[in-house]
Symmetry: C2
């Protein structure tokens, strides 16, 4: 049975944009599992699968329902051990948590702030109201103000990617010769920006961008099926 992926969208149901949902989509594709994206606007999240989840992604795999992108990856690894591994061993699983925390605390804050109004503007009206309320509570100021100084933080952001950039001089993926869930964790963040915002964060010759393009090529070009935001 096709797995359902509850997938965050704005006003266009064909353009899922959540970094965490993309992590789950890449993980499902890595496992070679057929899945159907269920377009889920912000205000519909509370109704997903009985409303026990506060966020998406959520997947339904037959009778099993699992939320949280990392938990989904762990579930897929455990449930489908004969398919390509997402972690390549217990060491990879453990280190993926470090990389998830690095991505969340180093990559996400700038991208989320830089794209804040781009996200807002691509939501349906009822979701815009929800987004404004929750994000203004989080940032403590009008959402219009948050990305206003993004250009002045851009070089600092690029510098923070240096561990990833330097690692790419040793190997083509965080997973080594081949991508693993650790790659999808970080690629999900850049796909978030790519789908929702025309803002350019990486220099043309940045090896991080070259790696991200490699990630977009994976699994039949899964990530490219949604065009870059214009």
């Amino acid at each position: 049975m096709t797995i359902l992926l509850y997938d965050l969208v704005g006003s266009d149901p064909a353009r899922p944009f959540s970094p965490h949902c993309w992590k789950a989509a890449f993980a499902l594709a890595h496992k070679g599992l057929a899945f159907e994206s269920v377009p889920t606007p912000f205000t519909a999240v509370k109704g997903v699968e009985g409303g026990v989840f506060g966020t998406v992604p959520v997947i339904r795999d037959g009778e099993r329902v699992v939320g949280d992108s990392f938990a989904i990856a762990l579930y897929l690894e455990e449930t489908y051990p004969d398919r390509p591994s997402l972690f390549a061993g217990e060491g990879g699983k453990a280190a993926s948590r470090f990389i998830e925390r690095w991505s969340q605390l180093t990559v996400h804050p700038f991208l989320g702030a830089a794209a804040l109004m781009d996200i807002h503007d691509r939501l349906a009206p009822e979701d815009q109201a929800h987004f404004r309320t929750t994000r203004e509570a989080r940032f403590g100021r009008p959402i219009e103000d948050v990305p206003a100084d993004r250009d002045s933080h851009l070089q600092g952001f690029r510098a923070k990617l240096e561990p990833l950039r330097s690692m790419l001089t040793y190997q083509p993926f965080i997973g080594g010769d081949r991508p693993l869930f650790a790659d999808y964790i970080v690629a999900g963040a850049f796909q978030w920006l790519r789908v929702i915002s025309p803002y350019k964060v990486l220099a043309d010759d940045d090896p991080v961008g070259v790696w991200f393009e490699r990630c977009l090529d994976l699994h039949g070009g899964l990530g490219r099926r949604v065009s870059a935001a214009a």
Copy 2:
């Protein structure tokens, strides 16, 4: 035959302090391999094993000589596959490179600058001259000036550790339930500071410090055999 570890020291041959040498020492202990530390001052590095290595650690294991801490870990993993794994799979091996780059680019710069004069002051006279020349070329200013503003950068450094700190809310080691080479990579950096400098970089209640103390307990308290600098 006991493995030899060429181990960087200052004027006291019983106090090896190089972060990279400590990574190798922890890796050898993790594998349960007996090793002998060969005290090696800076100016003796060029004479190690015929002088083909520019840095230590270097190990001699019978007829095999291997330099570079990461290469040593890979060598030990390949040569002693039946002993406890340093990576727990190919995914862990690949991700360890990311963590090595993160540690080198995020943790090392502050610690190395903060402890620069503490290192200098604990070297023998001929090594002090070498150290001053090479470090003044690297930093572009008198070595006395480099750590002078360390206090003003301390909070920023602590903030950069947040991915590690946050990861520790999920699991006790970067390796998961048990330490792997990824832990030794970062612990080596903190051991460097601990052995060479009385400067206190972590707040008393920092989970990173709690994790480091766990690392010092490992392998019969290997890291504690050298007392903290006073």
